[in-house]
Amino acid sequence: MRRRFMLPIIAAAAIYAVPALASSEDCSSIAGDAVLSARTPQVDLYDAPNGKRIKSVDQDKFPTCLAVTQRAPNMMLQVTVDGAPVWVPPHMVNYRLAGKKPAICRNLAMGGNDTKVGALGEDCPQKAGTP
C-alpha cells in the first residue's frame, strides 16, 4: 500500500528531473562552443593559452556549462570562471564544439613527405598493405 503511494511521487520526480539533468549535460542553453563539465579530478586554469597556471580547481567545484569565449590554436579554451577570463586545457574538461573538430592524421610511412590532416585514425585514406 505504502509502495503504491510512493511510486507516483518517484515517477513525478523523475519526469521533473530528467530534463534538468539533460540540460546540464549538453548545456543546450549555450549556443556555440561550451565547456560542459570537468573531466579530470582537477582542472588547471591558465592565464594564457601557453601561459602560467593560475590555480587548480577540484572537479566538484568546477562550474558546469561555461561558454567558450575563445579557442587558441593549441585548443586551449577560454572561459569565464568567477568573473575572470581563464584558459583551460581541453583534456581536463568535457567540451562541445559547434563545428566539426579538425581531424588528425599522420604520414607515418617514412620515405614519404606528404602530410594530411584528418580524424585521429578515422577518415584517413587507406593504402594497400593493411594487415
Binding site: 573531466r39 579530470t40 582537477q42 588547471d44 601557453n50 602560467k52 597556471r53 590554436p73 593549441n74 585548443m75 586545457p89 581541453p90 583534456h91 581536463m92 574538461v93 567540451y95 573538430k101 579538425p102 588528425i104 592524421c105 599522420r106 604520414n107 607515418l108 610511412a109 617514412m110 620515405g111 614519404g112 606528404d114 602530410t115 594530411k116 590532416v117 584528418g118 580524424a119 585521429l120 585514425g121 578515422e122 584517413c124 585514406p125 587507406q126 593504402k127 594497400a128 598493405g129 593493411t130 594487415p131
Partner: protein
Amino acid sequence: MTSPALNSPLASVTRSWERARRPNRDHVEKLKSRVPYWFVALFLFAFSVLQIELNPFGFSDLTQRYTQDISDLLITGPFLYPTTGREQISVAVIDEQTLHGLQMPWPWNYGAHARALDAIRAFKPKAVVVDFLFVDMRADESIAELVDEIARYRKAGIPIYFEGGNDLPFGEAPIRPEIARTGVPILDPTIEVYDGVVRQYPTTGYCYGTNGLVAGQCPSLALRLYKDLYKDHPPAPLHDKIELVWGTRTARFNVKFNSGPLPCNDDATFLVRIYRAFFDKQSAVGRCPYNNEIPVEALMVGDNDRDLNALLPGHVVFYGGALQGAQDKSFSPVNGEQPNVFVHAMALDNLITYGGRPQQNVMTLAGYTFSNNSAQAIAILPIILILSYMHRRRVRARERRVDRSEHGALYDWFMDKGIENLWHWLAFLLAIGIGLLLASWAGLSVANWAQDVFLSVELVAMLLVGAPDSFWGYLHHVAGGNPGDTFPEATS
C-alpha cells in the same frame, strides 16, 4: 753407425729447417693420409676460434648482423613474433605536425610537457616513461608545474619514469635538480647502435640518485620497467645484451592512421618477400613503426577517441619526440629510420612477449653463462668433432681405394664429387640441428647460430681442400716423419 755430430740437437734442427724450406712432396703427400683425428679437430677448432675472436675484415660481425636482419624480416618478424607486448605498449610522440598543429614551437616549456603528461594521465595508463632529457638549466618558472605533475602521478598511483643524461659535454647534471629532488626514478636511455641500425639492447646502465649519477650498475631502461611493472613474470638473470627481435606486422592503428603517399608495408607473397629480403631489402622493410604511435596533439586537444581509449588505459606509455634534426633516430632491421623512443618500446615489447627471457647474445649451459664468442665456439665444437670424424673416415677410405684400385678412375671421381656434395649438406644440417638444440636448451641466439652455420661451411671447404691433412703432412715431414714407418693411425 752414425757420427755423434749427426745426432746432435743442432744437426737435427738444421735438418728440420732444411725439410721445412725444401719439403719432399712425395713424403708430405703420403704423410697427409695419416692425419690423426685429434689433429683435424684441433686444427678446425683453432681456425674457428681465430675467425670468431679476430673477426677478420669484420666478417663475423657482418654475418651475424646480416643473418639477424634476414631472420627478422623473413621468419621471426612476420611469422613467429606474437603481438603480446604490443598490446600493452603505446608511444605518444611530439612530432612536427603536433608542433605545427598546436602552434607550439620547439622546445616546449616545462608547463607544456606537464600538460601533455597530464593528458596521458587522464587515460589511466599502467606507467609512463618520459623520453626527453631535461638537462638544460634554462630559466623557466613552469618547471614547478612539471614537478606538480609528478606528484599527481604519484597520487594517482601511476609510475612515471624520467631519463638521465650521461657523458654530458660540460659536466651538466644528468637531469634538472628540481625533477631529481622529487625522487622520481631516473633511467639510463643508452641504446646499442651498430652502423646506424639497432639490433641489440643493453641489460645494464648507469644509476642515478637525487644528486645525479651514482656509482654502480643498474638495469637498463626497458629491463627496469619490466622488473617494476611485470612482477608476476620476473626476468631471468640477463647478461651482456638483448638480441632484439623486431616485429614486422605494423600495428593496425598505425596502418589506419597513416595517410601519407606510401603504405606502411608493401603487399607481398612469401616468395616475393624472400626475393626482396635478399635482393631488394629496402622494399621489404616496413615504413611505419611496429608499436602503436599516438600523436601528442590528439591528447592535448582532449580527444575522447575510441582508439585512444583502447591504446592508453592500462598501457605502458612512452612519451617521446619524433622531431627533425633532433639526432634521436636510428634504423631497425625491419624499418626505415624511426625515433629512438621506439627502440625502448621494442625492448620492453621483447621482454613482455618472451616473459622476461628475451633472446640474448650469450648462452647459458648448466647454470654457467658464456659470452657471445664463447657461445659460438662451444656451439661449433660438436660440429667440428663430427666433421673431423667423418673426414678421417673419408681420408682412410680414399687411401684404401687408391691402394686396391678396384674401380675405375671415373667411378672414383663420381664418388668423390658425390661425397663432396653430401659433405656440404651434412655440415649445413649439422650446424642447423645443433644450433636448434642449443637455441632451445641454452638460449643460443639466431645471430650466433647463423655465424656457426657459416663457419661450418668454411670448415667443410677446408676439409675438402684437405687443409688439415696437408698441414699435418708438412709438420710431420718437418719433424722427421717417414712415410715408410707404420703408425697406429694408418692401420686403424
